[in-house]
Amino acid sequence: MTDFTLSCPLPITERKTVVLGHGSGGKLSARLIREVFLPAFDNPLLNRLDDQAVLQAGAARIAFTTDSFVVTPLFFPGGDIGKLAVHGTVNDLAMSGAAPLALSAAFILEEGFPMEELARIVASMAEAARAAGVPIVTGDTKVVPRGAADGIFITTSGVGLVPAGVNISASLARPGDKILLSGSIADHGMAVMSKREGLEFEGDIQSDTAALHRLVAEMVAAGEIHALRDPTRGGLGATLVEIATTAAIGVEAESAAIPVREPVRAACELLGLDPLFVANEGKLAAFVAPESAARILEAMRANPLGRDAVLIGEAVESHPGMVLLKTEIGGTRVVDLPFGEQLPRIC
């Protein structure tokens, strides 16, 4: 690069302002975390970059996590912001193998927000918490002037207990691991998008929002799990890249093995979106010891939330940090983190 001078007029990432892509779960998000939050908060628990921190408290290991929910629209096929707020935090705890104990809920409400909608959301949260067996034990409410928020923002935090002997973290995935996926991908993202954009797709696209802690407990009982993630923002693609990077392993997966439901696939085709990078709210990807894979897969399929679980690939020693996907016709492509939000293509 010495004999080549570049004068880029547009250092597009040297942004003076936050843009939506910073919240997309892609490269811009990763950069924001790396450049703003990690240096400021720097500590070993945070630096693991798992979905939760696991704290040692005496003999107990406590999983601790938090998540904010800002979805538009608030109600979508298969769920609503309240359900998401409960399931999302329960799942972040569950991805460490923890049994969730309790949640907190904080609400930021915009002046003028309809009381009836708030009541519906709260009832939905209560229902989701009851069904998950995880109570909401503390909370907070703030109201901001009209225009200072978009209706309602919810933040939930959660604590859980990690059973003795369970040690699950993205950094523990290793070559030879089999990669299991609990079911079809992209349902949630496309359900929200179809509602948001007023697109009417033939067929039924529902969010997959669900609490996964019981499924995880059954998997933990069935065999040796190294890493677990629920592929939310950024989709399965981002999850695989994150685990490959964190654990410094290569990932090889088979495109044809990854289930995408028919109407979801059609909607993605129509909009030019890659289902690999579309959000899920009730799925998980697991890196498991090869000798445990068959038993864990069987345990997953015995649970309704893992009924369609499949083996999609394995971790390898070569090309650390890189995810290779075998295409339907036998070619290979590299899966990289999306830059920001996926944009619908023009044609």
């Binding site: 690069m1 080549f4 001078t5 570049l6 004068s7 880029c8 007029p9 547009l10 250092p11 597009i12 990432t13 942004r15 302002t17 936050v18 843009v19 939506l20 892509g21 490269k27 811009l28 950069r31 954009e197 697109l199 028919e262 696939r265 059609a266 085709e269 909009l271 030019g272 890189m322 290779l324 295409t327 339907e328 016709i329 036998g330 070619g331 290979t332 492509r333 590299v334 899966v335 990289d336 830059f339 920001g340 944009l343 619908p344 293509r345 023009i346 044609c347």
Partner: protein, 362 residues
């Protein structure tokens, strides 16, 4: 999924590849015109599976990439104005102009909205009578009919707050420019299937005859592309040069007469500047005089906008098929989707972005 799965079938792909290998006897350079085809080729790894004699070069058919910097700067100027709701196809939002992109303008308070169809803009215009709604009408013949329709309908409804900023481009003049360029290596084209679904292929017949290049109207799925390549190789090997249609399930010789009529009613041909390439005569559409009231370039004052392009970027040569993305010293180093120097690195259909996103590195 019907019309998709059968064209992503591995057995069929293998059969076509074997047939291409059997047929080819010497090196040929084939250009796929459309960015959607480039995207598929790299996504499925089709080029890696071809015999070494067949070299694919990527054409200028990424509408986002070829939209002139001046047009983008004009769009950005409009999007920044208070009282304007600026509507655009999604992948135009990240394309850098001389100063930032539409995402930045949005973050700074500009009312920028992504639409899937220009007809959605009419809804926005009806709902916001006190605002001016401007649609960024870019693209090839593929997007032109719906864009024309939006103006047609706006006039019929008497919508006074809707206009379009037109930066349409057309394929045949670009193919001519490539064939006329001094260092041209392209010996055959895979025609852009969706453009031909609108326009048909009559206008390609004189090109095939005059320049003796086979042109195969081709679809976008792996088996479409492989079959299109096979048909092109067969023509090349046997010394034929005619227009053939691989994409029979979508394209007729006369195209879509209703869509063509709508384009002809609303638009007329004009000279157009292509980003990275320059002005190609007769390669664009502009609004006809009778629709001047819907022409954002006339409704708004757009004087005094100065555009400047980064010098290091070779996207113009990439768009002409003269260079490949990996030939650029900036590729993957100072030019990435995060820090694009040129539009070919921005759009998913841009050849540089396709190479980068699907992991083609040096």
């Amino acid at each position: 999924m019907k019309y998709v799965d059968e064209f992503r079938n591995r057995t069929l792909a293998r059969k076509l590849l074997a047939e291409i290998r059997r047929t080819v006897t010497r090196p040929w350079v084939i250009m796929e015109v459309c960015g959607g085809q480039t995207h598929s080729i790299v996504k499925y790894g089709i080029d890696q599976l071809l015999p070494p004699e067949v070299e694919l070069v990527h054409g200028p058919g990424c509408p986002v990439c070829v939209t002139a910097l001046e047009s983008i700067d004009r769009a950005h100027s409009l999007a920044r104005r208070p009282g304007v709701i600026f509507c655009s196809f999604g992948d135009m939002l990240r394309v850098p102009g001389s100063d930032g992109d539409l995402f930045r303008i949005k973050a700074q308070g500009g009312d920028v909205r992504v639409v899937y169809s220009p007809l959605d803009c009419l809804k926005v215009a009806r709902a916001n009578p006190a605002k001016q709604v401007v649609f960024f009408a870019i693209g090839f013949e593929t997007t032109a009919p719906a864009n024309a329709m939006s103006v047609w309908q706006a006039r019929a409804e008497g919508l006074a707050n809707y206009s379009i900023l037109v930066s349409h481009v057309t394929v045949p003049p670009a193919m001519t420019a490539i064939l006329e360029s001094p260092g041209n290596r392209v010996r055959a084209f895979l025609g852009a299937g969706h453009v031909c679904a609108v326009m048909g292929w009559e206008e390609y017949e004189p090109l095939a005859a005059r320049y003796r290049v086979p042109i195969v109207v081709t679809g976008f799925e792996p088996a479409d592309l492989l079959e299109g390549i096979l048909m092109a190789v067969r023509q090349l090997e046997s010394g034929r040069s005619v227009v053939e249609n691989q994409y029979g399930r979508a394209v007729l010789r006369e195209g879509n007469p209703d869509a063509r009529r709508m384009i002809a009613r609303v638009f007329e041909p004009c000279d157009r500047a292509w980003r990275g390439i320059g002005v190609i005569p007769g390669s664009g559409y502009q609004l006809r005089e009778e629709f001047a009231a819907f022409d954002a370039a006339r409704v708004f004052d757009l004087a005094g906008i100065i555009s400047h392009e980064p010098e290091a970027c070779i996207s113009g040569l990439v768009l002409q098929g003269a260079r490949r993305p990996l030939d650029c010293p900036a590729f993957g180093t100072s030019c990435t989707p995060e820090t694009p120097l040129g539009a070919t690195m921005v759009s998913a259909e841009g050849a540089c972005a396709a190479y980068y996103n699907y992991g083609r590195r040096r």
